[in-house]
Amino acid sequence: MIRDITIGQYYPTESILHRLDPRVKLVGTLLFIVSLFLFRSFFGYIAVTIFLFTVIKLSKVPFRFIIRGLKAILILLLFTVFFNLFLTPGDPIFELGFIKISEEGLRSAGFMAIRLTYLIIGSSLMTFTTTPNQLTDGLEKLLRPLGRIKVPVHEIAMMMSIALRFIPILLEETDKIMKAQMARGADFESGGLIKKAKSLIPLLVPLFVSAFRRANDLAMAMEARCYRGGDGRTKMKPLKYKGVDFFGYGTLVLYLVAVIASRMVENIIM
């Protein structure tokens, strides 16, 4: 049950996207998210869709696996669509008592749904194709200039990689504790909201205790191996750009130009 959550997971396979430098993927994801909010009509929508599906194809991650990750945001998605659909003022195209749907509402609900879906797919593609270690390595390198203004870049990256590393461990732990409590007759599914929240106590308390225990052990293990922050620390696999990475940056620039151009076309037509 708990294993169904695929957001933030790494999908091990061999593809051009997996081989790409994490910095390219980080910058690419950021640009992609920005681009999602740039387009306003059909042309931009086509450009973004083509780009996203090409990347999905290249990543060799099964489509079913990607879709499964969307389940987690289904409620959020429905909420957004609902509010946009019914609460946007404008020309009504459908009316039933106090329920009014305007053309603008329909449009913005549709766009919002697509944007959110693409946002999740886009960012989970990054985590599907990049190991947490690569990701934080990339982030650390990208943010290094901020170190000059006393931002603790290495510490932030280290905290991130530890947090990411702990996600699967804690998920597994949750699964185990859930099973152990179910074996003692605990029921996590039935009952009203308050009963359900109460039934989480036997799960959350042991989970927190175990998270603290693991954090303690990890801190000890790091000290035992003489960890003392980022100063003078070298890497076993330092990040270096290769040919394919420049190609990746090139594609990103082209994509950005296409989206901006489509927006300008919109402005001229409308």
Partner: protein
């Protein structure tokens, strides 16, 4: 009365079917466990032991095949898994990690309360379960997090015992305990088996422990049930066990070496006490 308490009929279990992580964790398992048996379950790490026992109380659902408890199909439409879980108690590895309440007593009574028993009955069960595992009255109101490792584990086992299961499954109950803690827990389990006659299934890596207590052994290897025989017969096949990263108890090896050296002893010995008697006999011959 039905003798065969748990029956597995062609049970298969496949992890994450359809993705790249797919793994065949249980392959065509057939077995039956009788009421009142003391069964040992051994196998190398990742051989499917834990998955197998989680099928017995319906925590994991088989991909194919049937499981019967007291003659009833546990996947039947009207079968209550919650009731099954009260009949088949499962103590997980490191069960002390599931403790959550503010006092020892409250934690143990969690199970009985979930069964919907009345207050007095639930309290009585919790109290008795703690007595069975040897937790004194002075600790009833202590926080479970303040106890020692061995005490915590006993409280966790009491939490399952308080549900009055007919079958008690323990997944490596002695892992990480000191020798005294280990012996205490095993002795208490054995006493429970002898006094109240409940079926015990003990998953362990310690061949010595299992030789001392189990009548019958199940051996798992790469998701398959490869042996299902009385303990002595299984350990006499120690050459095969070694190929599965398992072994026989130390004394079995000792007896084999003694026999090779020309001392006339039986080699199907599995416990230290038996070995002592057999060696004395052998030397007198």
């Amino acid at each position: 009365m039905i003798r065969m308490q748990i029956v597995f009929d062609h049970v298969n279990y496949i992890y994450s079917g359809g993705t790249s992580h797919e793994r065949h964790a249980l392959k065509d398992i057939n077995l039956s466990i009788d009421k009142g048996e003391f069964i040992g379950l051994i196998g190398h790490t990742g051989s499917g032991k834990s998955t197998l026992v989680q099928h017995m109380n319906g925590l994991v659902k088989a991909t194919s095949g049937h499981i019967y408890f007291n003659g009833e199909d546990i996947y039947g439409r009207d079968y209550s898994l919650k009731k099954l879980r009260s009949k088949v108690g499962l103590v997980f590895q490191y069960p002390e990690h599931q403790l959550f309440e503010t006092t020892v007593f409250k934690d143990v009574i969690f199970g009985p309360n979930n069964l919907g028993l009345d207050k007095l009955e639930a309290e009585l069960r919790a109290y008795n379960a703690l007595k069975v595992v040897g937790i004194g009255e002075d600790l009833l109101d202590a926080s479970p997090f303040e106890l020692s490792g061995g005490q915590k584990r006993r409280v966790a086992i009491a939490g399952v015992l308080a549900m009055h299961p007919e079958v008690l499954i323990l997944d490596e109950p002695t892992a990480g305990l000191d020798p005294k803690g280990r012996d205490d827990i095993l002795e208490q389990i054995d006493k429970l088996h002898k006094v109240s006659g409940i079926t015990i299934i003990l998953v362990t890596h310690s061949m010595e422990d299992i030789a001392n207590y189990a009548d019958k052994l199940l051996v798992m290897n790469h998701g398959e049930l490869v042996m299902n025989q009385p303990t002595k017969e299984v350990f006499s096949r120690y050459k095969e066990l070694e190929q599965m990263d398992l072994a026989a108890p130390q004394v079995t090896y000792l007896m084999n070496i003694l026999k090779e050296k020309g001392i006339d002893v039986e080699t199907d010995v599995t416990t230290v006490a038996e070995a002592r008697d057999e060696i004395i006999k052998g030397l007198k011959r």
